[in-house]
Symmetry: D2
Subunit: 423 residues, 4 copies
């Protein structure tokens, strides 16, 4: 008798194929689910493979459009960056994938979900927090955290042997000496030979971007139009070509960014689980959008609103990285950020060249930029005398503090505000 | 009889030459002071010019070493960036320049200081807050905020006429249709034709960096060594060349960065005075250091310390931009940031190419990176089962919230944590 | 010929009466405006006085209801406290008063507004930032910042002489040796003999609250009901009496709080203008509400939402104190805080006694409190084993750091995480 | 053969006595350790009981002085408050207790430590994070998280039976229907009948403070002197009595606060583990110090330093609550806060009466309060005209925004800065 039904996030690869069979061995009915979020994949082959391995049902789901609109767009609005560098391409995909998995589990009456994420990584957390949030009673089977599983499959060799024994097709091409994760937003590379933080990444690692050295010798100039903080149109200025649906816009930016080698980073980051890890990422379209959005936002948003929103964006990035997309606080912050984007509207022109994005200019019907006010040549509605008062009042705190110190001349340049007895 | 002595921050240009003469006309004794903070300048010519215009005394001060060590280095430690983009090259020079001006004023018994900064900009504030902090009784003459002055000199033409009338040498080359400010850290360009935020910057604007399009077709690879968060050595990996004093290190990074077109940005920013302005900056060496420091810092600093320090860095950047270097709060924050850098030590290898800086690898005797702990191939001293408990406890808040909602199946993927009556 | 029309914020007192006459002398038509925001005042007498002094028109406006609903309620939602102690009773009244003043100015076609606030205080800023925000072209006449005025009226004696000369009724009772500001939310006392921060406030200073020593010897127990973070009903538990409109609720809380001496504080605070000042405040109803709201909020709001909201509340309090109620950032923050209050609903029981408010219990249909989950006697849907993993994963950062230190036994209790070379 | 040696945090009560015997049953050698951190306890009796139950060694450690100096004092400097209300009396004791436990474990060569904290609370985390930080290789036995233990001892009855069977003296007085935790800083009450958040706490619950209703009818006035942010002397103004060692000062403040019923709160708080719990606390001395320190700090600290320090204090309180005293980030924050306290020095006079603390006045040699500057009667070194410029520059952002809106008169009071198309 079956122990129940599991919806397994299935990639078609060796690991999750072994998990599929192992789950069956353990007495579960297995439904496989493979999300198309823009990765290169032979989805048909994966489907057939799953069926041949005994999956009760196979779901292949195209989530690309909702991935862009519901997950990438809010991240663009937030200028979400983790630890000042990482654009969160993996993190943002996880709640999107897990949400559909939960929908399938509920629809199919499955009490279990399962995934092949490791026990040391962030993804297990991102998947499972989403699952628990959307399906509180769900039971999660994470084989890489179950001793009977991980003690049996200590290395790749054990998986290969198991595969051969159970008729699981074994990959013929040797595995790259690192692991990768790909979706519409980025490809990440980690583990294996990359674990040594000192060693340089091999030149042939990157799949989504050309090497800047091999990139075209002349730039592509784009104009990106925003409304409410999200892109609504991208135009190639010279070619006149344009895109205007979310998925098309993002895919086109990937194409242009990829061609010019945009968005490669090599970082050490801090996992939620408490350890540092080294990751290499390429995020071509996301990097272009990051720069463009930052520009139009600063152009159209009040300084102090921006300051508060910047702090919320940092928090949002941490939540996203840690797997809390579906949490009260992340919903709250997304709401606030969305509110801040009401007037983030206009066009940014930028040049993409040899791994870099250069902002060239911007315009907006809602800009708060006041050319007359700022002009050096026109006085405008501004009285320079006001600045004197402004400065003097801003100096009140430190002037009265310094006077109090009654600092002797020979130490006039010495610091020491804090402990007024220094001097 | 003299109204007193003024120490004038003198650039040798048309504006401050007119101010010099005007101050004399107004009855002041004028001492000129010109700081060498790395800008291209004929200091001898400026000296002679000031003397010929009647300066009572002329100071030319080489502040380059202290500028790097006491001002740029703390900014590097802080990863100081204003509004996510601007590396603060102008802001960081101001307290350095004004500090020496105040030292001269005190030493020469001058009650007044003067400068040629405009009434709409940030620099007036940065200069004057420094002056008031270090010399609370000082009186500041800011001609561009004095109606008799600015109403008399409405345009450049008025200055030219005044110059001719008073024997002030008039520049023969036409002025660029924008204004610029240069120092060791960067050159900024603004005003004039750049005031239209939509128009692209002319290709020939940049003086410190080559155009990425004309930059060499092969990268330079550098190794930068840090100790306590500041660079102590830079080595050109191929050529074996190295530098190890602050000024030499920074100048060399400028040379390499400049050759590859690194550090150009075109932004709209928010001035302290409340208006938005457009600025174009090139910060070659500073940009390389920003990336390198960020990398070694994340490698050697605890995650949560880093998070707090990141917030302090954002505050530091705002203070620096707004002119509060010499303030109790900035001293406090510099102290805290400095404390955070105690273990920020090690070497970063990076490649500079076509406007971009690529981190290649890093090593450190104080790294918190634990290769065994993070390894996918080795279990290490880590029990994957712990992650299950970690995730489940992290889900307690949202699980109990969702359970409470008792959300009906058909809405299982609907959001609505905040207002639990939605569903 | 008239220089134009001024709307003067008129209190009926000596200062603004002199200002009224002085403005007429200066050639303005003067409209007086007196807001009833709950202060003790003979509004009829003030009206007659203004008319007799030559006011062209006299407005007496009852703003009490809108003051509570539109200004106090958002502050309650925010738990707004300045510098950890001050409940902002003066600050919150200023935008309310100035808004109506601007409405009158626009409606009456006046180009000017005027007020009697001093040049060293916060109120001038709060009034004027509101005026500029709502009527950008307005011109403001602040006599206490105009040399001809403040040099003429150096002390109270000068005002008295001027009053006598111009037929302004002179107060017969001697002025208290401090100044005060009263409204529905609080009375503030400052200046005069209170300027010495060491000297104790006189016992007879307080007008809104009884001395706790003279307060009743038994408590009053109230139940306050909240919806969306604002009180919708207050009930006296024993007497059964209840109030349910905003103004009635707040007035009743003032009555109860006042009777028991609730909400007295004596603080030194930091003005926006940069100086420290000493203020004494009594905020009876506001203090009760502060405690009650804090309680129901923590009961019904998710922990992490609360943490973010707490930070926004601190920012809101600073904006409010500094006069930025009508600013983009304050509008933004109010919106976010309002969003956070959607589920802040329920009843709080509290006891008011001898200057103190004691929370006794709370209940809510939207509480996130889960009695079973937290119970020591019932396991509930919680597996204690999960906590082990949670703790161990939370220890990963410091365990791996400490292991690295390889700290010798004799120093095992020594600190020194930050600089790992200490040990 | 012994499985090894365990150092058990032993309270002398039923639970830990059963744990002691159970550990022996399980094959461990047990060393008991009981910390005196100021709770009421018969330490001799506890010692004898442990010995009679078979403890291999018994440690009774008087930690009161170090508890005050090394743990409470930094919390006073930080103004540490969790969720705006809780003064962290339990949290701050945990690292102090666990540190000594670890010292004993290392000294006695024990590989294990054990405690009787429950699996749903915060204390398990605070104990264990300290243990792991100071003794990374330690193994922790937490019986209330071990199924064999907690399934065997489901209710108090099981413990009683076990006790009787194993010769463990059974308490004769019935247990209070709640649990409590006492130390020098506070007593906390929770669980049992208190788990219903609506029900009022029984009047006879409190042990450390008198009921305000029964408190003396006249206040005690104290003067507390601070240096570097910590109290160095407390004087009873009338009686002339004074105390000047940390432990004496704190004990005396407890005595005075206790007599007047100071520091009682009834709150619902958010545990680190994700659930809300109801706690009742009495913190007499800590509450007095909180108010006094806040006062002297604001009096002597620059406004902007204070603002940054306030944020650090909130973070410190969260770390402390969550158990991260011994963590890199908490060490860092303590260092920063300590730095901020350099000039926090002076005397505060306050009155303690009927549950409340009233600040009466303060003085300091390092005050930044400038009586002349703030005076309403003296101009001082302050030009009121400067305020005009200050205000106008502060209005630039919103004036230019509003002008842009070109808001029609009839909507002049309407809000809508953020979405400039509203109007």
């Amino acid at each position: 008798m079956s122990k129940g039904t599991v919806v397994l996030a299935y990639s078609g690869g060796l690991d999750t194929s072994c998990i599929l069979v192992w789950l069956k061995e353990e007495g579960y009915d297995v439904i496989t689910y493979l999300a198309n979020i823009g990765q290169e994949e032979d989805f048909d082959a994966a489907k057939k493979k799953a069926e041949s391995l005994g999956a009760k049902k196979v779901f292949i789901e195209d989530l690309r459009a909702e991935f862009v609109e519901e997950f990438i767009w809010p991240s663009v609005q937030a200028n979400a960056v983790y630890e000042d560098r990482y654009l969160l391409g993996t993190s943002v995909a996880r709640p999107c994938i897990a949400r559909r998995q939960i929908q399938i589990a509920r629809q199919e009456g499955a009490q279990y979900v399962s995934h092949g994420a490791t026990g040391k990584g962030n993804d297990q957390i991102r998947f499972e927090l989403t699952c628990y949030a959307l399906y509180p009673e769900v039971k999660i089977i994470a084989p890489w955290r179950i001793p009977e599983f991980y003690n049996r499959f200590v290395g790749r060799k054990d998986l290969m042997e198991y595969a051969e024994k159970h008729g699981i097709p074994v990959p013929v091409t040797p595995k790259a000496p690192w692991s990768m994760d790909a979706n519409l937003m980025h490809i990440s590379y980690e583990s294996g030979i990359l674990e040594n933080p000192k060693s340089h990444a091999p030149a042939d690692l990157y799949l989504m971007t050309k090497s800047p050295e091999d990139a075209p010798n002349s730039p592509d100039v784009l104009e990106i139009e925003f409304k409410k903080g999200v892109p609504i149109k991208v135009t190639h200025v010279k070619e006149g070509k344009s895109k205007d649906t979310p998925l098309d816009i993002f895919s086109y930016l990937n194409e242009i960014g990829g061609r010019h080698g945009v968005g490669r980073i090599d970082i050490v980051e801090n996992r939620f689980i408490g350890m540092k890890s080294r990751g290499i990422y390429e995020t071509p379209g996301g990097t272009i959008l990051y720069h463009a959005h930052l520009d139009i936002e600063t152009f159209t948003m009040d300084r102090e609103v921006r300051r508060i929103k910047q702090g919320l964006g940092v928090k949002f990035a941490e939540m996203l990285y840690n797997g809390f997309w579906y949490s009260p606080e992340c919903e709250f912050v997304r709401h606030c950020i969305d509110k801040s984007q009401e007037s983030v509207e206009g066009k940014v022109q930028l040049s993409v060249f040899k791994g870099q994005v250069y902002i060239l200019g911007r315009e907006s019907p809602k800009s708060l930029y006041n050319e007359e006010l700022v002009s050096m040549d026109v006085q405008g509605d501004y009285d320079p005398c006001d600045a004197s008062g402004f400065i003097k009042i801003n100096a009140v705190r430190s002037v009265s503090l310094r006077s109090k110190l009654n600092c002797p001349k020979k130490f006039y340049f010495q610091e020491g505000f804090l402990s007024i007895n220094h001097i």
